[in-house]
Symmetry: C2
């Protein structure tokens, strides 16, 4: 079953409003359906929405980072009928020549992680779609782009479940001329409430 | 599309034989389709196979541990139409009273992790199905059972994609009279090759 994408976005926004918890100036906790407990029906619809938006991009791999990116990336890859890869995070472990690796700084946790993808799974010629649950400062996407670049593959777009448009990641991706689809786009937090961007879903796809 | 469960097991065994890499005496690396790169079609079939086996158990939640358990657990929960929860791993972080937590020792990595699940997501009365990618010594399952117990909920079964039957986890689960379904059951490694259990899929379901 596939719902219309507009309806999926509506459901997602309603879930964020009713279950999301705003913490401080820039953190949104949505652990009841997105990144601790997961609503599999909504996640399936999210995957179908991304697959529809990127269906003409001839994608060969879907790439994300553990752990929260796995669910939306898996559902997208199922629809696109291509493999999904999740980059592994390591705080310090010495990486070897079997892996492409990149550094990702987390502003939330104030930690630097190495992320790694086996060289066997991304090859020159691959057309890679990046999927993640959140877009904030764009550090995770930046790290994945770095890995795609090392592999000699092409990044063909970025699909984000929830973007905080007021942080740097949104502009960072657009500045690279990368197609960006953010299903829920948050303009700002106001009195502990989420205010969505007026223009709705971010969609910069050719 | 749903394949017959016997065929799913056959495909899984063939994938293990052709792509799995045996390391040392007890490690099987299957990162090409199960826990780094993921085959979404196979994962979907695995989810349907678990859902079929546990369809009469009136399950209300599917529980796993990040990261490798997320994909099979998500696909199972989608079929069962119930929420999926993945326990978070923390090497040291101080946990607070918002979480149920347990210790999980990893023989492979020789590290002790705390796993945690928010108290909001498992309640008394919940009937919980545990799903994981691998069963070796059963430490992960043990930790999840501990959390289910703290919540006053019931564990109704365990679904495992690949079990190493020669390690302690298999007997540990059966000794608790818990229904266990292991799709691929490995009897032993011989000359770097995988030998599957003669009786095939482990299935101890009422």
């Amino acid at each position: 079953m596939k719902l219309d994408r507009r309806l999926v976005i509506k459901i997602l926004e309603e879930k964020i409003k009713s279950e999301g918890i705003v913490l401080g100036s820039d953190i949104l906790k949505v652990d009841s359906f997105l990144n601790h407990q997961i609503d599999p029906f909504l996640m399936s619809q999210i995957g179908q929405a991304f697959a529809e938006k990127f269906s003409h991009e001839n994608i060969s791999k879907v790439l994300t980072i553990e752990s929260s990116g796995i669910a939306p990336a898996l559902m997208t890859s199922l629809q696109l009928q291509v493999p999904m890869i999740f980059a592994r995070k390591h705080q310090s472990r010495t990486l070897n020549e079997e892996f492409f690796s990149a550094s990702v700084y987390s502003y939330t946790k104030q930690t630097e992680n190495q992320i790694a993808v086996s060289k066997r799974f991304i090859n020159p010629g691959d057309r890679v779609l990046i999927i993640d649950d959140f877009l904030a400062n764009g550090q995770a996407v930046q790290g994945l782009l770095d890995i795609i670049n090392q592999a000699g593959a092409s990044a063909v777009g970025v699909g984000i479940v929830i973007e905080k448009r007021f942080q740097a990641g949104h502009q960072l991706i657009l500045s690279k001329n990368l197609p960006l689809v953010s299903l829920a786009s948050i303009d700002r937090f106001e009195d502990g409430q989420v205010v969505f961007s007026k223009q709705g879903e971010t969609s910069h796809v050719n």
